[in-house]
Amino acid sequence: MKRTFSALSILVTLSMLLAACAPAAEAPATAAPATEAPVPVEPTTAPIQVPTEVVYERSETLYVSGAAWGPPNDWNPFITWSKANTTGTVGLVYETLFMYDPMTAEWIPWLAESGGWVDADTYEMTIREGITWSDGDALTAADVAFTFELGQQYAAIWFSPMWNYLDSITVDGDYGLTLEFTDPLYQEFANNLYNLAIVPEHLWAGRSEEDITGGMNENPVGSGAYLYDTHSEDRNVWVRNENWWATELLGLTPAPRRIVDIRTSSNNVALGMVIKGELDLSNNYLPGIAELSTRGYVDTYFAEAPFMLSANTAVLFLNTTKPPMDDPAFRRALAFSINTDDIVNVAYAQLVAAASPTGLLPSLSAYVDQDVVDRLGYSYDPAEARRILAGAGYRDVDGDGFVEAPDGSAIALEVTCPFGWSDWMEAIAVIATSAQEAGINIQNVTPDYGAWNTALTDGTFDMTLNNWASMSNTPWTLYNLLFRHPIQEIMGSGNFGRYDNQEMFDLVDALAAVPSDDVAGMQAVCSDIQELMLTDVPMIPLWYNGLWAQFSSSVWTNWPTEESAAPTLPTTWSGYWQLGGLMTLINLELTPTE
């Protein structure tokens, strides 16, 4: 018996140690992951000097959470859909040519020292001199050209459509680049400038298509402020790159030596950790933060409602191929019937702000035509909703309290969101209730994510929430989501309601072709888009989802708030490092200990 016990305990301990140590043991293998194809990558193991402490010093470590929704899987900057789980792959390790500050609408030259259109079809760019990859090689214009050309070679890379209007990219010396275009989509190109991560040619040139589009890219070699340190199922650890080029060239050094990005098992765990000061920055959506922020347990960007900056717009997509959503009058009535205040105050407890009917974020308010909004905008008004319904022939024939279609057929609709997205589940309950009060029979339904997603892209839903346009330099990003065209069998990434209006599509295309520095030109097209959008109401923007951020100053201080001199975005979400997230790290300071 005794022997069994001790043998057993040894077995248990060993297996657990093996389990825990496995990822670490795997990590320092070869540099090239090379899944299958025999890739002739140079056998150099990158000489990265990663410190080897195993217990992290609290005063050197920044603990963050809220970006990842799954375990870390890859460090490949071209697998964009999983980047949330290894946030920092683009931004901390790999860097972009420019950064964009949505708070000031300013472009910040980054890997590129300068860049601009010399004529309508030519863009010239100079790469900063003195940038090195973390393995010591210099970053030059050839690396940039190589990265761009990957999109030309492989259709399965996200930026490959740029090559529909990009003719060539030529290297001029070590640091100069010239891009030649035919009918460029200026807005999309500008967007790519701060989203396209540049990779080192000397380590990527020999890789196969499989490896580039879907390889894990372990031990990434980038140019950024941090290096990959380690990971496990519930965390990513990044360690500061002590030889980062910007320290010398721009005088910038991020304060935390290590960043531990945690995937908390639930939002409650994140909440407990941030209150206890175990977590420095939580980018999770935590209901009830309003109360905790007011009482001073945590800090938020605004000291009062809505507490959070706005990150994206939650839009109610209406399936315009199904009656009665194919009737603009019905859609307009619906827009008047939704009690957005209840969503903001009840479902979200004041953590969000109601959206402009145009859907444009406050950071893009320069492109809102207030005159159009005043004339055609809508807000919660059940009486007006009933009036429009009656006017369009929707009447309650059978006396059940809900209107029937003009042809007498019953109306029974569903509003959906994925199960488990608690804030949206409450929001669609408000939508259903307030629509019912206005006489429209809508029930809230919450399918599993997979089923919801299939209904969304196949267009079998009635109405559903979506917010897949992130913060951006241009209103085109939102319109590209709302009015994605052409209409296809599967609408994978926009215009889920299949709103088919060539006039609108032409306007969005026109906007895409306005040079991104021509603000007046953009405003003119946006005004036309808004006029048509608010007349037709193909979808209903409801509220701005917050850039959820609650932080604790117990270890790190100088977090961005509305009172900061030059506030940046307090976020670790993937895709936001280039929008100011990195600057937030750089501005951090150690809280003085008494």
């Binding site: 018996m1 069994t4 057993l8 305990s9 077995l11 248990v12 301990t13 297996s15 657990m16 140690l17 389990a19 825990a20 140590c21 496995a22 899944t35 195993v54 217990v55 992290y56 609290r58 799954g70 375990p71 899987n73 890859d74 490949n76 697998i79 859909w81 999983s82 259709a155 399965a156 996200w158 930026f159 490959s160 459509p161 499989e210 589009t213 879907g214 894990m216 380690t230 496990s232 199922e233 519930d234 531990v260 098992s265 175990e278 599993d448 997979g450 089923a451 997603n453 299939t454 969304l456 892209t457 897949w468 346009a469 992130s470 065209h485 296809q488 599967i490 609408m491 994978g492 990434s493």
Partner: protein
């Protein structure tokens, strides 16, 4: 002997084949398209999305007819290839499982063996002590009737939140990376304890109750009375009763294995313990055919192997089975 094991092996192989086939079928009945879900958040041109969808549908082998997918699946399985995960793309399912399985083994083996040993000892002991019987019996019934998940939540709440003495999520602390040191080993054990305890307690209650009832039954049987009438010491009678009571407990273990593994899966979800259960939940939510298959494959193999082991042990401890095999008794 050979015929007995030959027959057993055949049954196990048949079970394996059927279970794996069901395992392959069920995820494919789920509504939705995994590749579509995987790519749904890539906000780019529709053309790029189309190109990517086609590319990855081919990469996952989902572009061929279903019957061919099934044959390919078996072919790959015999090569030890479980495919690439959709949810955790581009990681290979085999690699993911290799990382998770040790955590399951670390939970399951000790919980199953210790609870069986301790439960039986304790049940036998309780059967002869009146006050213990009166207190333990209701307690044991409560424990064994408790759903694993519920006890897990209760333990997490009491020891993790109210008393704050045990962590209730993850396999080791956030401020360390894996290495060999007492501090790290202690940390790993500290995280392991609550999920282990919730598995152990539920099973312990079941075995204790079972053994207590069996002992009472055996003590009432003819051979016990005969032994007593011969004047055998009480301890000797109990020893024989215990031995005889162990046999049904052993077959009970074989029957219980599936339930126990299922219990471990939900326990891992409760404690965010990075084993198969935790993976399986995420895999189902994300329609990851390959990861679901892999997780169930592990469960199937584990349960079958454990059953096989019990079959062998049974032969060793029960002479009647041995005799039955060689045809000594009718």
């Amino acid at each position: 002997m050979r015929r007995y094991f030959g027959r057993k092996l055949l049954i196990y192989l048949l079970t394996f084949f059927l279970a794996v086939t069901i395992d392959w079928l069920i995820p494919r009945f789920m509504p939705g398209n995994p590749v579509q879900n995987m790519l749904s958040r890539v906000a780019v041109h529709p053309e790029a999305i189309d190109a990517m969808r086609g590319y990855f549908t081919r990469a996952f082998g989902l572009d061929v007819p279903v019957w061919q997918q099934y044959l390919n699946f078996w072919a790959a399985l015999f090569h030890g290839d479980l495919g690439v995960s959709v949810y955790m793309f581009p990681q290979r399912v085999a690699d993911i499982l290799m990382r998770a399985v040790p955590y399951d083994v670390a939970l399951l083996l000790p919980a199953i063996l210790l609870s069986w040993l301790a439960g039986n000892k304790f049940g036998a002991y309780a059967a002869r002590t009146k006050w213990l019987d009166n207190t333990v019996l209701p307690f044991g019934y409560t424990l064994t009737a408790t759903p694993y998940m519920w006890l897990g939540i209760l333990l997490a709440w009491v020891f993790g939140i109210v008393l704050d003495v045990f962590p209730f999520a993850g396999a080791y602390s956030y401020d360390m990376s894996p290495h060999i040191s007492w501090r790290f080993v202690g940390d790993v054990l500290w995280h392991w304890f609550l999920p282990f305890a919730s598995l152990f307690l539920v099973q312990f209650g079941g075995w204790a109750i079972g053994m207590r009832n069996m002992i009472i039954y055996e003590l009432e049987s003819d051979y016990s009375h005969y032994l007593e009438a011969l004047g055998a010491p009480r301890a000797l009678v109990r020893k024989y009763a215990f031995r005889n009571a162990l046999l049904p407990q052993l077959s009970g273990l074989a029957l219980q294995l599936g339930v126990i593994v299922a219990g471990a899966l939900v326990t891992e979800v409760v404690f965010s313990y990075p084993g198969i259960g935790y993976l399986l939940l995420a895999a189902i939510q994300n329609q990851d055919y390959f990861l679901i298959q892999g997780c169930f494959l592990f469960i199937i193999v584990f349960v079958l192997l454990a059953n096989f082991a019990i079959d062998i042990i049974y032969v060793l401890v029960d002479p009647r089975t041995r005799r039955g095999m060689t045809g000594e008794t009718a």
